[in-house]
């Protein structure tokens, strides 16, 4: 690993065989010595979780689509649901109202000085869009939509991002097949990435101190930046 032992402190996981080349969805190896690291189990503490109990809570959908439930939904149905349940915050076209997050835009912006991170510009994989809408949206009443409805909403949001045609219907297989624009946009943790320098004297070598930025152009020193009462 680059950076040697110290880098392992920042990346405490063995990489998949072949590293990045193995693709994002290869299995990652178990850390060495995992089994031996466990203490002895203690009898009588903890109750079996039944398959049915697990099923109700095991709602996660992985980046590779593992966990996607059966069901399907169309962009068209999604549009209707979106207008009813989502547009108040995200805007009719996912453009984002006030400071509620935008669900579209920003493509090509990531290496500019105004990067905008959205589903279309930043999310690397599509199935987590389903996962996130199901677990967390609509914001004030999450976990109230059916899987069909979540498929439809996911379809509509992906359509808004020009990743699905207007007449598309989405199911698990189709969702897994979608290739997101920023799929290759992620690299592994790369720290430590700054030198370990600790000069003790004459460190400025005679250069006078120049203020490059003064917070007073925004706020007075003190506690002006924030409030302890809702604003």
């Amino acid at each position: 690993q680059p950076g040697g032992d110290r880098a392992a402190l920042y990346r405490p996981f063995p990489l998949p065989q072949g590293g990045g080349a193995a693709g994002p969805f290869a299995a990652w190896p178990a850390p060495p010595g995992a089994a031996e690291a466990l203490p002895r189990p203690i009898a009588g503490i903890g109750r079996p979780a039944s398959p049915q109990e697990i099923a109700g809570w095991d709602i996660d959908v992985r980046g590779d689509g593992e966990g996607l439930p059966p069901g399907r939904g169309t962009v068209k149905d999604g549009e209707e649901l979106f207008v009813q349940q989502c547009a108040a915050c995200h805007g009719d076209f996912g453009e984002g109202l006030e400071r509620w997050p935008a669900l579209i835009g920003g493509r090509g912006s990531l290496n500019t000085d105004q990067p905008r991170r959205t589903i279309g510009s930043y999310w690397p994989y599509a199935p987590p869009v389903f996962d996130y809408i199901r677990r967390a949206m609509p914001y004030a009443t999450p976990m109230t939509l059916s899987n069909e409805e979540v498929y439809a909403l996911t379809a509509y949001v992906l359509h808004l991002n020009e990743l699905l045609p207007e007449d598309a219907e989405l199911d698990a297989e189709k969702l897994k097949a979608i290739r997101m624009p920023n799929r290759e946009g992620f690299v592994l943790e790369a720290r430590p990435d700054t030198p370990d320098e600790a000069c003790m004297s004459g460190c400025r070598q005679g250069r006078p101190v120049t203020v490059t930025m003064d917070s007073r152009q925004f706020v007075q020193p003190g506690s002006d930046s924030g409030f302890s009462e809702p604003q």
């Binding site: 920042y10 178990a30 189990p41 109750r47 996660d60 370990d196 600790a198 020193p221």
Partner: protein, 402 residues
């Protein structure tokens, strides 16, 4: 002499309570014991958490900041612990709380809170820091004080069950390499955690500073992931699934990844690197009217181990002196540092602190950090911070050329 002294005192307080007079509270009984069976602080104390309205649309998916300038020592009073929620604070009924552990395990199990408390426990003093701490300063100084530049930071004594003790209960399948931790709040927050960390020092905490974990910090049970960014310390924990690869969920792709100037983002950047800040003087604790002796004090921390040294500069980084570290210096905990200084009215100064940890990591300057990562990575800003002391003693958040 006496009269003059009396006049001086009058300016500062109520003469009726000052020497030579007997203060009123020495002449009458106060309330007795269990007036507060569960006590609160003095009505004269006013330190509060604060939020920044323009940062978020609402207060449910938002953040509030610890008033670091008011803190003493290393323990954060739980009532002032910073908050970071994605769907508000759930009111979890402890009798209805369950932890489910399943996936690549031998025996999928669920646990009640009572079960958890019966298992072997540990207590550890650790800091927790939101990786977005100071994120507003990447482009330049814009916040008015240390509460906002560094206040997504706290340190508590956490008590609970080592995650590995729970994994011993369920057993592990040989191919388990990552786990997904899921909260029970309205955002059902999820994060993928490598198994190596889970088997190292992760705790399922039900205790915070001697009592139950506070609702804002995950009552009844939260993850403690020592040294790692706060977002993975899943609160209101309800589920742990073992898997053979990370999940790439929204909070580990869309958020909590670090965008570099080339448009690519670093993923799985878990560690909060070596960092420090001076908490007095600071914009909230100016030197106005207090010339002479100043004890510069602050906090240092590192996500990979112990702090070994903190240097302090008053001349913008030209010369440095090493500060005293308050014992006990604990791994992945806040460390309080202190160093004496003399300040005279009319003197301008640029105060900085620079921490080092036991792995040899040294806090970089803002310029160095920007050179490595640009200004758009939001998270993990651990640069040397600068406070300008103005000739009148006002203290200002500034950035300088280095």
């Amino acid at each position: 002499g006496t009269l003059a002294a009396g006049a001086a005192s009058a300016a500062e307080g109520n003469p009726a309570n000052l020497p030579p007079n007997t203060p009123e509270w020495a002449k009458s009984l106060g309330p007795g014991v269990i007036e507060e069976a569960y006590g609160t602080r003095s009505r004269h104390e006013t330190a509060v958490r604060r939020y920044v309205p323009w940062l978020t649309q609402d207060r449910q998916s938002s953040v509030s900041f610890t008033p670091l300038a008011e803190m003493h020592g290393i323990i954060t009073p739980s009532g002032l612990h910073f908050e970071r929620h994605h769907g508000g604070v759930p009111d979890v009924v402890p009798a209805d709380w369950r932890l489910m552990i399943h996936g690549l395990v031998e025996r999928p199990l669920q646990f009640t809170l009572e079960d958890l408390k019966r298992l072997p426990s540990v207590s550890r003093i650790h800091f927790i820091e939101c990786p977005a701490n100071g994120g507003m300063e990447w482009r330049g100084a814009q916040m008015s004080g240390v509460q906002f530049t560094h206040g997504m930071l706290s340190c508590s004594e956490w008590t609970g069950v080592p995650l590995k003790a729970l994994l011993a209960q369920t057993g592990l399948r040989p191919n388990a390499s990552w786990l997904l931790a899921e909260g029970g709040d309205a955002s059902l927050m999820t994060r993928s955690i490598p198994l190596a960390k889970a088997l190292d020092d992760v705790i399922l905490a039900y205790g915070q500073n001697g009592e139950a974990v506070r609702p804002q910090q995950g009552y009844p049970v939260r993850l403690v992931v020592p040294g790692w960014e706060g977002n993975v310390w899943i609160k209101w924990l309800r589920r742990i699934e073992l898997g053979d690869r990370p999940w790439y969920h929204r909070e580990e792709t869309r958020h909590y990844t670090d965008l570099m100037p080339d448009g690519r983002a670093r993923k799985f950047t878990f560690v909060n690197e070596v960092n420090s800040v001076i908490t007095a003087p600071c914009p909230e604790k100016p030197l106005r009217g207090k010339p002479g002796f100043v004890e510069i004090t602050g906090l240092a921390w590192s996500g990979v181990g112990r702090i070994t040294r903190v240097d302090v500069s008053v001349d913008g980084g030209d010369s440095w002196r090493s500060a005293q570290l308050q014992e006990p210096v604990l791994g992945k905990a806040l460390t309080r540092f202190r160093i004496p200084w003399e300040w005279q009215e009319g003197q301008r100064a640029f105060l900085q602190s620079r921490a080092m940890d036991e792995t040899g990591r040294v806090q970089p300057t803002m310029a160095t950090l920007r050179k490595a990562r640009g200004v758009e990575s939001i998270y993990h800003k651990n640069a040397i911070h600068t406070w300008l002391v103005e000739p009148d003693g006002t203290v200002v958040n500034v950035q300088i050329d280095a």
